[in-house]
């Protein structure tokens, strides 16, 4: 009886998936040659707006809306945002990507938020010349030339991993480190690169892995040796890093947590002692950004934010600047917008200017390392 019910449930889900795929396939993509009138232009927002990483997508969406509102006011434009929820699922990201591709008003996509969603969609966007600009996807091989219409305004993990390794070996002089990944396209390569770098530097490294939505790390903590100095946790969830940190204390381990950029959140990751890296400086620590932060707080009615939102603001700003340039004659094509994005040279709210390399990486970007003491963040590297 139970087996019958389970089989029925599985069949129902499979049927739903087939229908969804069929519906997606019937929508013809807007072709590369299609010319859009510039009076009704939208930005696609490809992010996990619901699901386990909704905190990330919602923060980015809020900053993108802020950017659109500010840009429209400043330049008299009428940009809109079209939402495409990935729910942190590769297959849903692909379906959402198809929908954006098929919408002729979408001239640029902000996202995907995660490396996984970029892998699922950038190939689709390439076919129609639709540009996508991510404010948080950091996997190295996204910009190896395979996705010519993909750009990102944050540095890649090829910079993050060596930064973390150098900090651990030269500043903290660690001997024994545990490296944990959270089984996704972002954290596995990053954790591998960090572990490889540490081993090369003569550090004893143990590797562990947890599911992305795990909330209990007590059994992983039981595996952490008493000799371990640091537990590097490559995660997209700051609260997971906080729980790991507390459970290390609970079991009397001396190791402290070093969270990668996904763990950056002064409201959620606030251990007694820990470290966290970030692909962007925290706007709240930049005196020059205070007026913008005030303006955002008014706009969002004091929605809390970390380091995920501001880069997406910049991604949206870059996209709108490019579309506006491409629309100088009143009409634009997607490849024209991509070309304008490639030529980007705008000041960044995070300091410096945004310019891209040939493969879509942002020039001169670097990672920041913060020490957290009793929940207080201090820039140390």
């Amino acid at each position: 009886m139970t087996k019958g019910l389970i089989a029925t449930a599985a069949a129902g889900l499979a049927a739903a998936a087939v229908v969804a795929t069929a519906v997606a396939k019937t929508s013809a993509p807007a072709g590369a040659s299609q010319v859009a009138q510039c009076t009704n232009v939208s930005l696609g927002m490809l992010a996990p707006l619901t699901g386990p990483a909704a905190f990330l997508g919602q923060e980015q969406l809020s900053w993108v809306r802020f950017a659109v509102s500010k840009f429209n006011r400043q330049y008299g434009t009428r940009f809109k945002v079209v939402l495409a929820d990935t729910q942190l699922s590769a297959s849903l990201a692909r379906t959402a990507g198809r929908r954006l591709n098929a919408n002729p008003n979408v001239m640029a996509v902000i996202g995907g938020s995660t490396s996984q969603s970029v892998i699922s969609t950038a190939g689709l966007f390439k076919r129609t010349g639709l540009v996508s600009i991510s404010g948080s996807a950091t996997r190295v091989d996204l910009t190896n030339g395979q996705f010519p219409t993909f750009f990102r305004v944050v540095p890649h993990d090829g910079i993050q991993a060596p930064n973390i390794v150098a900090f651990l070996t030269k500043r903290l002089r660690v001997d024994n480190v545990v490296v944990i990944d959270s089984q996704d396209d972002y954290s596995v390569p990053l954790a591998q690169a960090i572990a490889r770098g540490l081993r090369r530097a003569g550090v004893e490294v143990s590797r562990e892995s947890v599911a992305a939505d795990e909330t209990d790390f007590s059994s992983i903590v039981a595996n952490v040796s008493g000799a371990a100095d640091i537990v590097v946790f490559a995660t997209q969830t700051a609260s997971a890093a906080q729980t790991l940190s507390q459970q290390l204390r609970e079991q009397g381990k001396r190791a402290v947590v070093f969270g990668t950029d996904g763990a950056y959140s002064p409201t959620q990751f606030k251990p007694r002692l820990g470290y966290v890296s970030s692909f962007a400086n925290d706007l709240r620590f930049l005196p020059s950004a205070r007026p913008l932060v005030r303006e955002y707080n008014r706009f969002s009615r004091n929605k809390p934010f970390g380091t995920f939102g501001p880069p997406s603001y910049m991604a949206a700003w870059v996209a709108m600047t490019a579309i506006r340039a491409a629309c100088a004659d009143g009409r634009a094509t997607r490849p024209e917008v991509t070309e304008q994005v490639r030529r980007t040279n705008v000041p960044s709210i995070l300091g410096g200017r945004i310019q891209f390399t040939r493969n879509g990486d942002v020039r001169g970007a670097k990672f920041y390392i913060f020490r957290v003491t009793d929940g207080q963040y201090r820039l140390v590297g």
């Binding site: 009886m1 139970t2 087996k3 019958g4 019910l5 389970i6 029925t8 449930a9 129902g12 707006l49 619901t50 699901g51 386990p52 909704a54 905190f55 997508g57 919602q58 990944d181 089984q183 590797r207 562990e208 892995s209 947890v210 599911a211 939505d213 909330t215 209990d216 007590s218 059994s219 992983i220 039981a222 595996n223 969830t237 700051a238 609260s239 997971a240 906080q242 729980t243 507390q246 459970q247 204390r249 609970e250 079991q251 009397g252 409201t267 959620q268 809390p304």
Partner: protein
């Protein structure tokens, strides 16, 4: 053999297993009475976690509670149980009762719909950020048993004790009271029970209330031990609770308790030892592989689970 590690893993497994057992009990009770897989049960747990979090905030929060810590925890659990019990009654009334005579697939789809409805309602009401119980501020992690290899935070003791107390209370209710007798009769044969004068609708509603109240309590316990809650957490606990119910013998209450503890301990031990057992070929990432393999094995070799009875079809 690293005994320190084994002891710690067993402590972790029993804590996790207690939560799974509470969830499995809810699954089993509803299945026993209605032969319905209430796929929204995990999300009721999630709602319970949020009710507990709301009660915590209302009572001053973890850093500045207005009442004694034990009373605070008790009130959080009671609030979640009451809220989720009523939610369970509402779900039964509006999502399942109208489909009681429909084909089997209909209530199953309805349950999936309720699951998404609850998730997205909480997303809408509370936003997408993870919410923290900040239990670590409420009770320092160093308070508890620290004896040789044994490190047990007092909150873990509270969680296991609370789960056991609820299981025993439920057991007494079902085996020693008139209501329990009516529940057993309804589970055995709904039509015959109705003919004997049992108000079957009332029994079903009460079953939903109790099962959902247990899920609500489990939600608060999860928040207390692991600190963080979010609108998506119900899926994982619902799934593991369902596996525990199947492994223990779906429809059997002692089976659900046993299944929960079994799955919790297996999960903890597999995280701790999978690498040693497979000579480094598999890491802790594959612990769920062990848990789900057990489910598949049970389905193949002993589909009735530990304590369930094989179904007899009468002709």
């Amino acid at each position: 053999m690293d005994w320190d590690k084994l002891v710690q893993l067993l402590v972790n497994g029993v804590t996790l297993g207690s939560v799974y057992a509470l969830v499995a009990l809810g699954f089993s009770m509803v299945y026993g009475i209605l032969k319905l897989l209430n796929l929204a049960h995990g999300d009721v747990l999630m709602v319970g976690a949020f009710i507990g979090w709301g009660a915590l905030g209302w009572l001053g929060g973890a850093q500045d509670p207005r009442v004694a810590v034990w009373l605070l925890i008790l009130l959080m659990v009671l609030a979640a149980m009451a809220g989720c019990g009523l939610l369970g009654v509402a779900i039964e009334r509006f999502a399942y009762r109208p489909l009681r005579r429909a084909p089997r697939i209909a209530p199953l789809i309805s349950a999936l719909g309720v699951s998404f409805f609850l998730q997205n309602s909480v997303l809408l009401l509370f936003g997408s950020e993870f919410r923290s119980y900040e239990t670590f501020d409420l009770v320092d992690v160093e308070i508890g048993i620290h004896w040789g290899p044994l490190n047990v935070w007092v909150i873990r003791i509270v969680v296991v004790a609370a789960a056991l107390a609820m299981m025993v209370a439920l057991w007494l209710l079902v085996t020693r009271t008139k209501l329990g007798k009516a529940m057993r009769a309804t589970a055995f044969d709904r039509e015959a029970a109705a003919m004997m004068g049992i108000d079957v609708d009332r029994v079903i509603v009460t079953t939903f209330f109790i099962g959902s109240a247990l899920a609500g309590a489990a939600g608060v316990l999860v928040g207390l031990i692991f600190g963080q809650i979010n609108h998506f957490m119900g899926f994982g606990y619902g799934l593991k609770g369902f596996i525990a119910a199947v492994v223990g013998g779906i429809g059997s209450m002692p089976g659900a308790m046993l299944g929960g503890l079994f799955i919790g301990v297996v999960e903890a031990l597999s995280i701790g030892y999978i690498e040693d057992v497979t000579f480094g070929r598999l890491g802790s990432a594959f612990s769920d592989l062990v848990v789900f393999s057990i489910l598949v094995l049970f389905m193949l070799l002993r589909p009735q689970g530990f304590l369930g009875r094989p179904e007899v079809k009468k002709v």
